[in-house]
Symmetry: C2
Subunit: 276 residues, 2 copies
C-alpha cells in the first residue's frame, strides 16, 4: 500500500487519514470531498491534498469510501473505469448488503472489501476527526481477502471482525438500528405527552434519549438499506414490550445479564461515556 485515497473526508474519512499517519504510513494521502472539508483536512494533516475522483482512482492503491451510504453507492457506480487493476476499494458504510451488491455489479476491474469501523462521536465532520477513533473498536470486514490494508486496520488498534454482509446487517439491526429507533420513539413520545418531564429528568432519561439526537440525514440511508432486518427487530421489540408485564422479574434478570455481558468486553465504555 503506497498511496491512499479517501473519498468523503468527514469524521470517519478524516480519522482514517490521521490514523494512517499516526501508524507510520508515509505515502501520499489524497482526499476527494467538498472544498471546505478538503481545506480543513489538509490543515489538520488528515490528507495531503484534494483531488478529483479521476485522479484518486488513477493514483491510489487503496480507496477508502467514507461517504454516507448513498454517496458510497454512487461512487461505486462510476469508479470502475477510473481505477488501476491492482487497487483495493474498501468502505466504511453502516450497512453492507446494498454496498457489497453494488460493488459486485459495478466494480469489475479491481478488488472490493466491504468494511464498517464501529466508531463514532456526537460531533460530525473532519474538525472532529481523531487518530485514535478506531482504537479498541470493532472494524467489520465482509471477507478475509489477503491485503496489506488489513495490517493498517490492526495498526490503528481496531479489532478486525470478519462477517459476511448479510450477517453484519442482521447483527447491527439489533445492536445499533433498533436502539436508535427505540430512543427516537421514546424521546418523541415523552416530548409529546410529558414535555414538563424535563424538570424532573434524571440520568436515566438522558442515557435513554442520547441516540435520539442522531441526525436523520445519516439514518435515512441506513433505514432504507436495512429495512427488512430492522422491521424484524422492531416487531420483536413491540412484542417484547407487550409481553413484558407478564414476567417483569424475569425480564429484569435477563436484561441485566445481557447489559452486564456487553460491559465485560473491553472496548466501548470509555468512549461511550466521554460523549456529550
Amino acid at each position: 500500500m503506497k498511496s491512499a485515497g479517501i473519498i468523503g473526508v468527514g469524521l470517519i474519512g478524516g480519522s482514517f487519514g490521521l490514523a494512517l499517519r499516526k501508524a507510520g504510513f508515509e505515502g501520499p494521502i489524497l482526499g476527494v470531498s467538498s472544498a471546505r472539508s478538503i481545506g480543513e483536512a489538509v490543515e489538520r494533516g488528515a490528507i495531503d491534498r484534494g483531488v478529483s475522483l479521476e485522479e484518486a482512482g488513477g493514483v491510489c492503491d487503496v480507496l477508502f469510501l467514507a461517504q454516507p451510504i448513498s454517496g458510497i453507492l454512487e461512487t461505486l457506480r462510476k469508479l470502475d473505469p477510473l481505477v488501476k487493476t491492482d487497487t483495493l476499494v474498501t468502505d466504511a458504510g453502516s450497512t453492507k448488503q446494498a454496498i457489497v451488491k453494488e460493488a459486485e455489479r459495478s466494480l469489475r476491474r479491481c478488488a472490493f472489501l466491504g468494511g464498517h469501523p464501529m466508531a463514532g462521536k456526537a460531533e460530525r465532520g473532519v474538525a472532529a476527526a481523531d487518530a485514535d477513533l478506531f482504537r479498541g473498536r470493532p472494524w467489520v470486514l465482509t471477507s478475509d481477502i489477503d491485503h496489506p490494508f488489513r495490517k493498517w486496520v490492526a495498526a490503528f488498534g481496531a479489532c478486525e471482525i470478519v462477517l459476511d454482509a448479510a450477517r453484519h446487517d442482521r447483527l447491527v439491526a439489533w445492536s445499533s438500528h433498533l436502539p436508535q429507533l427505540a430512543s427516537t420513539a421514546l424521546a418523541s413520545l415523552v416530548g409529546d405527552r410529558a414535555p414538563e418531564a424535563v424538570a424532573v429528568a434524571g440520568p436515566g432519561l438522558l442515557d435513554a434519549t442520547r441516540l435520539a439526537m442522531s441526525s436523520f440525514d445519516l439514518w435515512r440511508d441506513i433505514l432504507e438499506t436495512n429495512g427488512r432486518e430492522i422491521s424484524v427487530a422492531l416487531d420483536a421489540y413491540i412484542e417484547k414490550l407487550t409481553a413484558l408485564r407478564s414476567d417483569l422479574e424475569g425480564e429484569f434478570r435477563k436484561g441485566g445479564e445481557f447489559a452486564r455481558s456487553l460491559r465485560s468486553r473491553n472496548w466501548p465504555p470509555m468512549n461511550a461515556d466521554k460523549r456529550g
Copy 2:
C-alpha cells in the same frame, strides 16, 4: 431543626447525613438501619449513632425515611405513636401517591412532607454515599408547607420543585419508569435474539442498555405503586413504535428536539456521564 433521624441509611439516607454535615448542620444525626449500615455510616460520618425507631421518634425534629417504598410504607404504619407532635416526617420514595396516602391515613400526630430527591448512582449502600449527591438535582416536594427542612434542601444545592403526588407519579412514569422498561426490554430482547451482537456493540447500545442493569429489588415497589401510570406510558410507547415507520423523518426531528431540550437544563449531564 435541631436533630435529624434517618430511617434507612443506604445511598440516599447516607448522602442526606453527609450533605447535612457539609451544609453546616450541628445537631445530632441519628440512624435507624441494619447493624452493618449503621457501622459504615458512623465510620463515614453520615450519622452519629444508630438508634431504634422508638428513640429516633422520641428525639428528632425531622425524620427522613430513605428506605425502599415498601419499607417507607411499613415505617409510616407504625410511626404515629412514636413521634413528637412538632416533628416533620419526610421521605425519599420514588413514587409518591401510595406514600402520601399512607401518611394521611397513619400519621395523625405530626406533619408529613412527601419528597423525592431525583439523584442516584449505579452503586448502592452507604459506602457510595456522597455529600454532593443532591447538588444541582431536582428535589420534588409534594406540598409547599413552611418548614426549615426546605432550607437544608436548598443548602444541599438541590433544586426544589413542588408537585402534588399524582402529578409527580404521572411525570416520573414518562421520565423514569418508561425509560427503565424500554431499556430492560431492549437488553432482554437483544440477549435473546442476537447475543453475538456483543461483538459489534457500539456506544449507542451501551447507552440504551445502561438502565437495564438496575436491580429489580428497587423496581418491584415502583412498578407496583405506579402501575396505572406506567401502563398508560408503556401502551403509548408501543403505539408510537408501531406507527414510527409511517413518518421516520418527523419522529427523528421531534425526538431530537426533545432530547436537546433535556440537555439545555444544567443539571444532569455530568452526573449521567460519570456513571459506569
